[in-house]
């Protein structure tokens, strides 16, 4: 089982869109895939048409008092399951702090699922907190969607700096560009000449595309309602590039 966290401190950069599309593409390969919606907003759950609610509550889940398997929901796609969000996740840091080893918590919760799933995608909320540290510890890959602007690059630097300081986990950090708008000069420049502090930058990037926005109305991955579209193709390329890194 490989754990892929989609993370950025910044909000609204396309984390959830990435998580939903990639996990769907992974499941299309025939891999048993779980998407865990860690964001109290429940956007990933919404895209899957599943109520953002954990029976018994998020606290019990985090404390290990609920069997994860009991609250997982099958999505409309054969090999893709979702662990829904719960509004109480806004207190995630508190939940974690009340456990013995907050850093190791997510890892531990996911342990029993190793038999069942080939991939677990974590859709993370935008913040830096105890919860994100627990994510860093659990993840094999930290996928960082980054908008090609100077400000966003600074944020990426901050994330790297933080990870270095913490020195937790073993995650490979893989940034990639999102919402790339070819009309903007700065976007073009950065994508063509990525900064040297991004040696692991993935080649694939996701352009700014209206299909991605339309995921909200269709409540489905792009490949379902716009299979031939450019955005669908780009998510596929991203997954193709990422897949071998997971072996």
């Amino acid at each position: 089982m490989k754990i892929i966290a989609i993370y950025n401190i910044k909000g609204g950069v396309g984390k959830t869109a990435t998580a939903v599309n990639l996990s769907y593409l992974a499941s299309l390969d025939g891999a048993n895939t779980l998407l865990w919606d860690l964001d109290p907003q429940g956007a990933a759950s919404y895209y899957c048409r599943i109520k953002p609610k954990i029976k018994g509550g998020g606290k019990k889940l985090v404390e290990g008092k609920i069997d994860i398997d009991e609250v997982v929901k099958g999505t409309d796609y054969e090999n893709l399951d979702l662990l829904p969000a719960d509004f109480s996740y806004r207190n995630m840091d508190m939940f974690l702090q009340s456990t013995k080893q907050p850093l190791n918590r997510l890892n531990k919760l996911l342990g029993p699922l190793a038999e069942e799933y080939d991939y677990v995608f974590l859709d993370c909320p935008p913040s830096i907190s105890a919860a994100s540290e627990s994510v860093f510890t659990a993840a094999d890959i930290l996928l960082v969607p980054t908008i090609p602007t100077t400000l966003s690059l600074r944020t990426y630097k901050q994330i790297m700096h933080f990870l270095k300081q913490q020195n937790t986990g073993h995650a490979k950090v893989l940034p990639f560009f999102v919402m790339v708008d070819g009309r903007k000069k700065m976007h073009r420049l950065i994508v063509q000449h990525p900064p040297s502090f991004m040696p692991t930058l993935l080649k694939s990037y996701i352009p700014y595309a209206s299909e991605v926005e339309r995921m909200g109305t269709h409540r489905a991955p792009v490949a379902i309602f716009a299979p031939g579209s450019k955005a669908a193709g780009r998510y596929q390329s991203l997954w193709n590039e990422l897949r071998p890194q997971l072996w």
């Binding site: 048409r49 599943i50 929901k73 099958g74 409309d76 409540r219």
Partner: protein, 518 residues
């Protein structure tokens, strides 16, 4: 997921459209795609999975391929293999519980596709008020298509309800409403139905001789019947021997050759001399070609056990030995296959088959040709039995390996004769006799294997320049010697068991008195 899905037979007179509309009364049902899927059922040549009561099937659905191994009758899921391709052999799988389980059923035998089905699937979904799928339904039409150009035969329709994780309540409601329709439950007998359509009956193959003889049959006729059955087994195992992946094919092929030779030589004066000689030579040549292949096969299987006590460094060092042996095997196999593919071979086999199948008597019948087979059988078996005892009694703790080797051969001859003629004796007598033989034959067989294996390793050492490998090989030889010593020390007891007074009286009754009292 598959393990708790529920399948029903849709009877022929039940329309699919009515079925859907009756579901729509209670649920919001969406028609999804119509797809064509394939299913391939696998088994070994000798139907080991079938006999074990399980089914190994590959589902091709769109681009996805899944492999399931399930309990036959209820179709209960044993394992969903995380594989996209059925392995030929259990040994190709990664080490682990599944490999072990599969190996315990199919051993070293090869899995091959036995029958293929086409399945036309209409997928349906029950959705909730968010249009979210909460239960899946499949209406599957099963078809057997003999070939591309021939029409498919319908094998029946099935309805399957598949739960979606986390929506157990919805599943229960849909299931209840389908149960109300009183559809019969589907047992997982699609493989059987398909095999029937294909005209194959599963479990049919046997490498046992099962030759039914009439005691008063002339010996010539009986011997031809025995030889014909042996030829049949050879033919059944020829294609698999040529492929060479599943070592049991060659093994059965080779055993049949040995039995053929034994029949030609032991059952004397029955076939015309020139025929006996000609085919004895032919099969002797074939047998010699199989020897190195089989010896290496057995050795390579055993090598794993031999290595176990060695530690990982020595195991590593044995890599050159493995490679050398594989190479030797491949060369030996190649020679053997060349022969099997030759025109000469085919011609010989054809003539042999024609000869055995003809009821024509020769102008100058051999001396025993017309004798009642039971008399000849009694005589031959008793004679070999006496010979075996004579040789066996002469064995002491100091006897040479060669003497034991000869003894092993004599016991083999005895065993084969019993197999040829077993239908002439009461089943219980035969069973007792073979049981008495088994322990001793195992002991002699093991001695022989250990000898052969030591010789293989020594042969390798002679031409090996890798010091580490030589050192590891010497360890193996040492452990082979220890084992040989141990097995040798057990011989006396095994032999004494066999040569007991009790057994002797039993055998007398069987081969001297039984037919006399007829």
């Amino acid at each position: 997921m598959l393990h708790n899905q529920h399948s029903f037979v849709i009877p022929e007179n039940q329309g699919v459209i009515e079925l859907v509309s009756s579901l729509r009364k209670n649920f919001s049902v969406r028609l999804l795609a119509e797809t064509v899927n394939k299913r391939v059922f696998y088994d070994t040549f000798d139907w080991r999975l079938y006999k074990n009561g399980s089914v190994l099937e590959q589902h091709n659905e769109g681009s996805s391929r899944k492999i399931y191994w399930r309990e036959g009758r209820q179709g209960k899921l044993k394992i969903q293999l995380g594989l996209s391709k059925v392995p030929y052999l259990a040994s190709e799988l990664p080490a682990g519980e599944f490999r072990q389980q599969l190996h315990s059923v199919i051993s070293v035998r090869e899995l091959t596709p036995r029958v293929r089905l086409k399945i036309k699937r209409q997928s349906l979904a029950v959705v909730d008020n968010n249009e979210k799928i909460v239960v899946r339904l499949y209406i599957d039409k099963y078809l057997y298509q003999p070939s591309k150009t021939r029409a498919a035969r319908a094998l029946g329709n099935r309805l399957t309800i598949v739960p979606v994780k986390g929506y157990a309540d919805d599943y229960s409601r849909v299931e209840a409403s389908i149960l109300e329709m009183k559809l019969p439950p589907a047992q997982d007998n699609m493989m059987k139905l398909a095999l029937v359509a294909k005209g194959v009956s599963a479990g049919e193959y046997s490498s046992k001789l099962n030759i039914l003889l009439d005691p008063d049959m002339p010996a010539e006729q009986a011997l031809k019947k025995i030889l014909l059955r042996l030829l049949e087994i050879m033919k059944q195992n020829t294609a698999g021997s040529i492929t060479g992946r599943d070592i049991e094919f060659m093994h059965h092929y080779r055993v049949s050759i040995r039995k053929t030779r034994s029949a030609l030589k032991q059952v004397k004066g029955v076939l015309p001399q020139d025929i006996s000689e000609k085919y004895n030579n032919f099969f002797s040549m074939l047998g010699k070609l199989t020897n190195p292949v089989r010896d290496l096969d057995v050795f390579l299987v055993q090598l794993e056990n031999y290595q176990q006590d060695l530690g990982s460094a020595a195991q590593q060092a044995l890599q050159p030995l493995c490679e050398h042996l594989m190479q030797s095997r491949a060369e030996a196999q190649k020679k053997f296959v060349e022969e099997l593919k030759s025109a000469e071979y085919r011609e010989n086999i054809k003539q042999w088959c024609n000869y055995l199948g003809s009821s024509e008597k020769s102008d100058t019948p051999a001396e025993n040709a017309d004798r009642a087979v039971y008399k000849l059988a009694d005589e031959l078996i008793w004679e070999i039995y006496q010979q075996a005892l004579e040789q066996g009694n002469a064995i002491t703790a100091d006897s040479k390996a060669k003497e034991l080797h000869e003894l092993r051969k004599t016991f083999k001859k005895l065993r084969y004769l019993i197999e040829f003629f077993r239908s002439l004796y009461p089943t219980t007598m035969v069973r007792e006799f073979t049981q008495a033989l088994t322990g001793l034959q195992d002991n002699l067989g093991e001695l022989n294997d250990l000898d052969v294996h030591a010789a293989i390793v020594r042969g390798f050492i002679k031409q090996c320049t890798d010091e580490k490998a030589v050192k590891a090989c010497k360890k193996i030889i040492k452990s082979l010697k220890n084992q040989l010593h141990k097995t040798r020390s057990e011989f006396a007891a095994c032999y004494a068991d066999f040569a007991s007074a009790d057994n002797h009286n039993r055998f007398r009754e069987m081969f001297i008195d039984y037919h006399a009292s007829r």
